[in-house]
């Protein structure tokens, strides 16, 4: 047994950390919160140069084909920001969905440009019914002269306002998993993406108004979409969890530092057992999310059956991040709700990711299914 990071992972961690400290300090993160598109072009280019966007893309498609646990080191560092931007949407979920679902020709066409950051993918699954299962996919394209015509709405699509390409889950049959994936140009006529306003980070509404896409837009085969998504999600979710772990870690560090430096009643507030209790609650959530995530990553990287661990990791991480933020808010009181301090960006992200790609209840049920109880 060895639960330590490898040397190359340590190296990646320190490179990523200094990049984040240089390029995405708190004021940058806070400034980004209000922009319509989560993609900051300069940052995106630099990240592309570092190979971040192709980290899970196999070398034959222009990526670096790293193990998921290597990528997780990176995603933890990004999550510390929390750095917004379609890193996960495009570089992980988008890329893995294409990898799992597309034909060889399509992969060769799409993936290299995703790995280079030239194209930005996002996967549009959810609809107004906000169900994360295949039955929630009801958007059904009509056939016209061998092409597909789309009319309808996808909702809570991550980072759609910065995407150049959409992978849209559509219903193409009556069976529960009769779902196919269409590759749609996000700038095509009739496609509109809009960031939803509120206490939510870059979840978007995407509407399709008579959008015509050619037959070649079908990724892989018809009705194979859900199975492909399932495989892609199994590998993508732990990286989303790693991003969350990074978020919890940052919130924890902020809270410890604040508890040590903020003085009330003549002593650092960390002396008060009530404040200690908040920090302890926080670190328990952080560590739960961390170890659940890392074991799932290890199982995936070593080819072990991982479904139950992956669902557990997302259930645990989904709950951990908001709870960690709540505890941090208790530690900080007034300071924590001051937007410029940076905790609020985590709080909003923690609420956003709670539901994204399945809320805890959904994943607990999938976990129970996977464990065959």
């Amino acid at each position: 047994m060895d639960l330590a990071l490898t040397e190359s992972q340590e190296l990646l961690r320190s490179t990523a950390r200094s990049f984040m400290e240089r390029e995405a300090p708190v004021d940058v993160i806070v400034g980004l919160q209000k922009v319509e598109s989560s993609l900051a072009p300069d940052l995106w280019k630099k990240a592309a140069q570092l190979g971040w966007l192709g980290i899970v893309v196999p070398t034959e498609y222009g990526g670096s084909g790293d193990q998921l646990s290597d990528a997780a080191v990176l995603y933890e560092e990004i999550g510390r920001g929390p750095l917004p931007g379609p890193f996960f949407s495009s570089g992980v979920l988008g890329a893995l969905t294409v990898l799992e679902g597309a034909t060889e020709e399509q992969r060769r066409r799409i993936l290299p440009r995703v790995a280079s950051g030239e194209r930005v993918l996002t996967v549009a699954i959810t609809e107004p019914n906000t169900s994360w299962g295949p039955t929630g996919v009801t958007l059904a394209p009509q056939g016209r002269n061998g092409s597909y015509v789309l009319n309808g709405t996808k909702l809570f699509v991550a980072d759609a306002t910065s995407a150049t390409d959409l992978v849209v889950a559509v219903r193409t049959g009556d069976g529960p998993t009769d779902v196919s994936l269409l590759h749609v140009d996000a700038r095509a006529r009739g496609v509109t993406a809009r960031r939803l306003p509120g206490f939510v980070s870059w979840q978007c509404e995407v509407t399709f108004d008579n959008v015509e896409v050619p037959a070649t837009a079908l990724l892989g085969g018809a009705q194979r979409g859900w199975a492909a998504l399932d495989r892609a999600l199994e590998r993508a979710l732990p990286l989303l969890c790693a991003y969350i772990v990074g978020g919890c870690q940052a919130v924890y560090e902020k809270s410890v530092a604040y508890a040590q430096s903020r003085v009330q009643f003549g002593v650092p507030i960390g002396r008060f057992q009530r404040v200690q209790d908040h920090v302890i609650r926080l670190v328990n959530h952080l560590d739960s999310a961390r170890w659940a995530t890392w074991e799932a990553l290890w199982k995936l990287d070593t080819g072990r059956p991982a479904a139950a661990s992956v669902h557990m990791a997302k259930a645990v991480a989904s709950e951990a991040y908001p709870e960690a933020c709540n505890a941090a808010h208790e530690v900080h009181a007034g300071m924590g709700v001051l937007v410029e301090y940076g905790l609020a960006a985590h709080t909003q992200m923690s609420r956003t990711l709670f539901n994204y790609l399945g809320d805890p209840r959904w994943h607990k049920r999938r976990m129970a299914d996977a464990l065959e109880w």
Partner: protein, 415 residues
Amino acid sequence: MDFEVTYTEEQQQFRREVRAWLETNVPADVQRTPTSPEDNYQRYLELRAFGRKLGAKGWLYPTAPAKYGGGGLDVDYAIILEEEVDRLDLSLPPYYDSGGRLGSASILVWGTEEQRQAFLPAIYHGEVRTWQLLTEPGAGSDLAGVRTTTAVRDGDEYVIKGQKIFVGSDNGADRIWLIACTAPNGRRHENLSWFMIDANLPGISMQPMELMGTGGEGGTDSGVKQTVFFDDVRVPAFALVGGENKGWTVATTHLELEHGGGGRIGRNRVWDRLLRYCQETKRDGVPLTQQPDVRDSLADIYIKTEITRLFGLRNFYLTYARKAKSYEGPQLSYYRKTAGLWMTGAILEMVGPAALTTDPTWGSSAGFLETQQRNGIVSVHPGGTTDIQRVQMARRIGIGRSTREKAGTVHGAEA
């Protein structure tokens, strides 16, 4: 025991009178969520104008002594007023007036007769809106640690210097209810004093703070807060309330009320709207209220709002019946705050991401759920954190210190 207020025919007549009056006098659409900064200010002006009309009838501060311009009404009549205003999603006062509510109560208990006559009528008539200024960068929970805002006596005046944070609201104030340090080298608890001052004096400036919460005028909280700077502000010595360096004693009244000691009656507006939302929103063709998971969560949320209501009702009763109180004030505050924070999670799980957006199509009406998602977190801190409420409860229960602490006085000079 009787949990219901029984009304006499005369009181029922009063209710009809109030309802009819409100129908003609509540400004149209004043409950709206403002659409722009201008509209926000406009709405504030409408609320203030409405406040003055209420004030003229003695209905703005219904139980305040009539001889200082309050309503002088019995509690039963005040309850009727509160209920009728609450029906319209408004409260008394209908705008943020924390310094008016808490300052006037403190002045009734600790002010001189001249000060009551000088300060109270304008508050009770709605002619002024007042903020409460306590918190400083170095003094939050540790209110007794107020140091950086100083007031130094100079002839017939005090000269105030310093800075307050997390105070006030949008749209400015007419008066300020302020605690400052009047003896920088004095002993703890013997070096503070309260002042009721004009908010527009030379040397006072303010700067808004951007917070995670939202919401403006109306009710006891404000989502907008300011940093207020005092740069050699000269105020008449008459503004000092309760005696120089007696500020800690005066603060017991202020804090007791702020911590929930006065209690509250009224509906829980979030609950009403949440229930309606769940009845009207369907998932897979079935209303949310008919889904087993949602029913379970709704039941839990309902219970928490009911317990909060009961604690508020109890404190209200204890106050008006002049019964002894101990830990009940901080208990209400603690329970309300922890329930609100817990509810953010319960609602998010139950409703899903629609709870997070203000989008007119995909969010809840006027984004009320999104507001709860933010404010359930932010509201944990004002008026004493949940930790401080627990410290207070323990001391008053008798397990915090060797001598049991008493609740602050909230009853002042009567009409």
